[in-house]
C-alpha cells in the first residue's frame, strides 16, 4: 500500500472522529473509565504487594552460635551460612550488640539497661530470599556446625505467603474480568458508531473498495480513540495516585503504609495504558466492522 494511502486513511480516521463527535466522546469516555478502574486496581495491588514484600523482608531467622566458639570462630560462620541456598544475608550480632539492642528496645525499663552480655549468645540475623522454602532453609541452618539453636517465625512467614498468593490470584482474576468487560463495552460502542455508518460502508463496497480499504480508516480511528483514551486516563490516574499518596502520607493512622512513588511507576503505567488502549480501540474497531464487510 502506498504512503499516500496511509496519509489518507489517517486523515479519514481523524475526520471520522470529529464528524461523529458524540460517539467519539462516548468511546473515549468508556476507554478512560475502564483504564482508570483497571489501573487503580492494579496500582493498589502493586502497592499491597510491595507492602507484603517489605513485611516479608522484616521476617528474619535468628541462628544462635555455640557458646564455646570464640569471637573469631563465630564470625567465620558467616560464609558457611551465606552459602546455604535461599539465604539472602547473614548478619553477625555479637552478644554485646544483642545486649545493647535489647536495652534499646526497652528504654524505660531501668533494670534492663545494665545486663551482663554473658547471658546473651552470639547470633546471626538471617534473611531468606523465598519464604515458601523457609522450613528447608531453617533445617539447613540448624544442622550447621556451630549453630546450637534457631528461632524462625515459620507460621508468620506462612501467613505472608498465603496472603500474597490469595491477593495475587484475586488481583489477576479481577483485572482479567475488567479487561474483558472493557473490550466488550468499547467494541459495542464502536459497533454503534459503525452502525451509524453502514450506508457509507455499503457505498464503499458498491464502488469496488476492498475490505482492507474500508477497514483501514476504522483501524486508525480505533487506534486514535484508544491512544487518546489512554493519555487522558494516564493523566487522571497520575493525579488520583498523587492525591491518594498525599492523603496516606499525611494520615497518622496510615503511617505504616509506604506508598510507592509514582515516579517509579509512571513508565510501566503509561506503557500499559497506551498498549491496552490501542489494543482495545483497534480490536473493538475490527470486531465491530467485521459483520459489515461480508459480501
Amino acid at each position: 500500500m502506498a504512503k499516500h494511502d496511509f496519509r489518507y486513511f489517517f486523515r479519514e480516521g481523524l475526520s471520522n472522529m470529529f464528524s461523529h463527535g458524540f460517539m467519539t466522546f462516548a468511546a473515549i469516555g468508556i476507554t478512560v473509565a475502564c483504564l482508570l478502574i483497571m489501573g487503580t486496581f492494579t496500582l493498589v495491588a502493586v502497592n499491597a504487594n510491595g507492602l507484603l514484600e517489605d513485611l516479608e523482608q522484616e521476617n528474619e531467622v535468628l541462628a544462635y552460635v555455640d557458646d564455646s566458639y570464640t569471637d573469631q570462630q563465630a564470625k567465620a560462620l558467616q560464609k558457611t551460612l551465606e552459602a546455604i541456598p535461599n539465604v539472602a544475608s547473614a548478619t553477625y550480632i555479637s552478644k554485646e550488640e544483642a545486649t545493647a539492642n535489647f536495652a534499646a528496645e526497652y528504654p524505660e525499663e531501668a533494670m534492663l539497661q545494665d545486663l551482663d552480655p554473658e547471658i546473651f549468645q552470639d547470633r546471626y540475623a538471617i534473611k531468606v530470599n523465598d519464604l515458601t522454602r523457609l522450613s528447608q532453609t531453617t533445617a539447613r541452618i540448624a544442622s550447621t556446625e556451630g549453630i546450637t539453636d534457631i528461632n524462625a517465625y515459620e507460621e508468620i512467614a506462612g501467613g505472608f505467603v498465603t496472603v500474597r498468593n490469595v491477593a495475587t490470584v484475586v488481583c489477576v482474576a479481577l483485572i482479567a474480568i475488567l479487561f474483558v468487560v472493557s473490550v466488550f463495552i468499547i467494541s459495542n460502542t464502536i459497533k454503534l458508531t459503525t452502525f451509524d455508518r453502514r450506508e457509507e460502508i455499503a457505498i464503499m463496497r458498491m464502488v469496488g473498495a476492498t475490505n482492507g480499504f474500508i477497514r483501514w480508516p476504522f483501524v486508525y480511528e480505533g487506534l486514535m480513540l484508544g491512544f487518546l483514551g489512554a493519555v487522558i486516563a494516564f493523566l487522571l490516574q497520575w493525579g488520583l495516585y498523587e492525591a491518594v499518596a498525599q492523603g496516606v502520607d499525611t494520615n497518622d493512622t496510615l503511617q505504616l503504609i509506604q506508598v510507592i512513588p509514582f515516579t517509579q511507576l509512571w513508565a510501566p503505567v503509561a506503557a500499559t495504558f497506551v498498549g491496552a488502549g490501542v489494543l482495545i480501540g483497534v480490536g473493538g474497531s475490527l470486531s465491530a466492522i467485521r459483520k459489515f464487510l461480508q459480501v
Binding site: 502506498a2 499516500h4 455499503a202 457505498i203 464503499m204 463496497r205 458498491m206 469496488g208 473498495a209 459480501v295
Partner: protein, 230 residues
C-alpha cells in the same frame, strides 16, 4: 459486455424473482430495462453488481463470471461498473469533491490522478463550481449529477442506473437522461432501469421489458407491452 444465460434467481424465502433470462448487452450500447414493480428489475441489478448470486445460470460482466466469482474478485468486478441509485446514496458528511475522491482512493488512484480527474468529471456533469459543497446543500438534480460523476470518475466500462430519475421532476429527468446519453456517446455502456414510459419512448434506444421474471420484449425504439407501474 454483459451476458446472462438461462439465469434463475430464487431468494431464501422461496420467492422466484427471475425465471430463465437470457440476454446480451454489447459494449457501447444504451439499454433501458423496464417493467412493473416486482417484475425482477431490481434483482437483475443486484445480480449485475454481485450483491446476490444466481441460483441457476451464468452471468458474465466485463470479463468477470459473476456466477462463480471469488470474494477477492468482487471489488475488481465492481470497479468496471458505475452504479447510480434513485436515492443518490451520497455521503452527506463529505463534500462533493471528497465523495468522488474516496471512490478514486478505493481503486488505488494517486493524488495526482485524483486532482486531474475530479475537475474533469465535475465539468462533464456541470458541477465544477460545487466541488466544495455538501450534498445537503444541493438540489435533487444536482445530487443525482454528483452520483453520476461518482459513477463516472473511475472511468468504468458500464454504468448501471437504477431508477435514476425517480426523485426528479420531468425537466431534470430529461436533463439527466440526456447526460447519460452523452456519456454513452463517449463509449461507456449504459443500462438504465426505469418505469418512465415517456422518457423511454423519447430516446429511441433498445428497451428490454421484464415481467414476472421473464423477458417479454427486447426491441429498439420504445416501450412495447402493457402499462408500466413504478
Amino acid at each position: 459486455m454483459i451476458r446472462l444465460k438461462d439465469v434463475e434467481m430464487v431468494y431464501d424465502n422461496g420467492t422466484q424473482a427471475i425465471r430463465g433470462i437470457t440476454l446480451t448487452i454489447e459494449d457501447g450500447e444504451f439499454v433501458f430495462l423496464v417493467g412493473p414493480s416486482g417484475s425482477g428489475k431490481s434483482t437483475i441489478i443486484k445480480l449485475l453488481t454481485g450483491e446476490v448470486e444466481p441460483s441457476v445460470g451464468r452471468i458474465m460482466i466485463n470479463g468477470f463470471s459473476v456466477s462463480n466469482i471469488s470474494e477477492r474478485q468482487i471489488p475488481l468486478m465492481r470497479r468496471t461498473l458505475g452504479v447510480i441509485f434513485q436515492d443518490f446514496r451520497l455521503i452527506e458528511k463529505k463534500t462533493v469533491y471528497d465523495n468522488l475522491e474516496f471512490v478514486m482512493r478505493a481503486v488505488g488512484a494517486s493524488p495526482k490522478e485524483i486532482r486531474k480527474r475530479i475537475p474533469y468529471v465535475l465539468e462533464l456533469v456541470g458541477l465544477e463550481k460545487k466541488a466544495n459543497s455538501y450534498p445537503t446543500e444541493l438540489s435533487g438534480g444536482e445530487q443525482q449529477r454528483v452520483a453520476i460523476a461518482r459513477a463516472l470518475v473511475n472511468n468504468p466500462d458500464t454504468i448501471i442506473a437504477d431508477e435514476p430519475t425517480g426523485n426528479l421532476d420531468p425537466e431534470r429527468s430529461l436533463e439527466l437522461m440526456s447526460l447519460l446519453v452523452k456519456i454513452n456517446e463517449l463509449g461507456t455502456t449504459v443500462v438504465v432501469v426505469t418505469h418512465e414510459k415517456d422518457l423511454v419512448d423519447r430516446f429511441g434506444k433498445r428497451v428490454i421489458t421484464i415481467d414476472s421474471g421473464h423477458v417479454i420484449n427486447d426491441s429498439v425504439g420504445g416501450y412495447v407491452g402493457g402499462t408500466i407501474h413504478g
